[in-house]
Symmetry: C2
Subunit: 273 residues, 2 copies
């Protein structure tokens, strides 16, 4: 598959969560065309095994390659945590995940050296954030906590009020995060929708780190290094693909993207093995 | 595929929820062998489209047919709500869903004639309970409410305490159920795990209807009519199949089945179209 500066950037996620990353990408690189794939027929990934998430990730990438993408953004922490090596081995294009940029930002943000990371069970169990943080800076104290109910809360739009506050309290104050952290990594693309509630629970002394913008910066860097940045204002296209029927994606997705989605095409994944 | 009285009963669900139906089936028909399939690589079904749930249901049935099952139990309300016609057309064996037995039990239980039904967005949107109740008895007043957060709460084991109570209050008292119902159908196989919380919110005057036992009774009836009941104590087998890795199913499933699961085999679904 040939690609050049005019080729689109491919972005995939298990569903709508990755639209928070797409949003940052469009803000950072407004001239670039994008193809976003939400695997809504198999969502969520965060409670599934690494083996299955890797299989789905490879199938998502295959679809985006058919669209001639010049770079792949894995806009899902769970897939970034478990599938990046397999994706990088299989694909002829650069692959950018959300974990390394988020970890780098957290390592630069913390003053106390104590970082808390929250994410799906799959992301937390993988140890990917712990590993990424250790490789960036030694001596950091990292505590993690899986928050499985945050994804359904964000998907349902229950992002304010008593229920999300209570759930956040259970995870963030009675959990395993320990005392003294000044930086909290939102290690799931759904979590920025709950950032008001989360900030209130952890208090104003803690900085929330969302990897969306850091990931967009990394994409800009990689494209620039390879002279693949699109520079013309013309012919910027936005495509949305989903594996389930598009209605719910279009409806819920607007909340994540921050503006309405005009349409999405339903496709089938070809799963191997 | 040949089957006889010694053939197993096949049961499928999107994941662990259907184990509440399997449990009732084993209690009602302890001599029968069973093969349970949980489609854990694609769970949940309740927030997905009828089209996709039907495709998954047909693939689940194909796997169970390979095990020589003599009857198929669709132990998932969402799949029962949208996929029964397609399954009955495709399969050479009787197919029993959970909605008709649950609706019949509710229609016999209510004294006021006002019935409330809660379920997944897919089940409620399908109108399957409303249709089933109308076909059993005219003049019933039926109100429904989708409760999407109940499934993740049950899956995570958050079945007691403040969070599930508050979520249940939001759904059941501020929702669309209206006043005066004396019967509440738990229209999702996950909900029996939350029955204590739900009962407390709706009050002691409301009878909760769980279709698991009614479904097991219906299975016994169908097998008896066709002289397919197994009568020997010998060679009763329990098989568990899953589409994701088995660990989480075995761990969470015990909560639904009421006793531990010794092992589960990971399989692949062959999806068509």
């Amino acid at each position: 598959m040939r690609f050049d500066r005019h080729s689109p950037i491919g972005v995939f996620d298990s569903g709508v969560g990755g639209l928070t990353v797409l949003k940052a990408l469009i803000e950072r690189l407004p001239l670039e065309s994008t193809v976003y794939l939400g695997d809504t027929a198999r969502v969520p990934y965060g409670t599934k095994s690494g083996e299955v998430v890797t299989k789905y990730s490879l199938a998502n990438a295959d679809v985006l390659l058919e669209y001639g993408v010049k770079l792949l953004v894995v806009a899902c922490n769970t897939a970034s945590a478990v599938a990046l090596p397999a994706l990088r081995e299989a694909l002829p294009i650069p692959v950018v995940g959300v974990i390394a940029p988020g970890a780098a930002l957290a390592a630069h943000t913390t003053k106390t050296g104590k970082i808390a990371v929250i994410g799906t069970p799959g992301t937390i169990a993988s140890g990917a954030y712990q590993e990424a943080l250790a490789s960036i800076r030694t001596g950091l104290e990292v505590h993690t906590q899986a928050c499985p109910l945050f994804v359904p809360l964000a998907e349902e739009g229950w992002t304010e009020g008593q229920v999300p506050s209570l759930v956040a309290e259970q995870y963030l104050t009675r959990g395993l995060l320990g005392p003294g952290f000044d930086t909290l990594v939102l290690g799931c693309t759904h979590y920025p929708l709950l950032s008001d509630v989360i900030q209130r629970v952890v208090g104003p002394g803690v900085t929330l780190v969302d990897s969306a913008r850091a990931t967009a910066d990394r994409v800009a860097e990689v494209l620039n290094e390879r002279d693949l940045l699109k520079k013309e204002r013309l012919a910027t296209e936005r495509h949305y693909l989903v594996t389930d029927t598009p209605n719910r994606f279009i409806e819920v997705g607007a909340r994540f993207l921050g503006h309405s989605i005009s349409g999405a095409r339903q496709i089938d994944l070809k799963l191997k093995g």
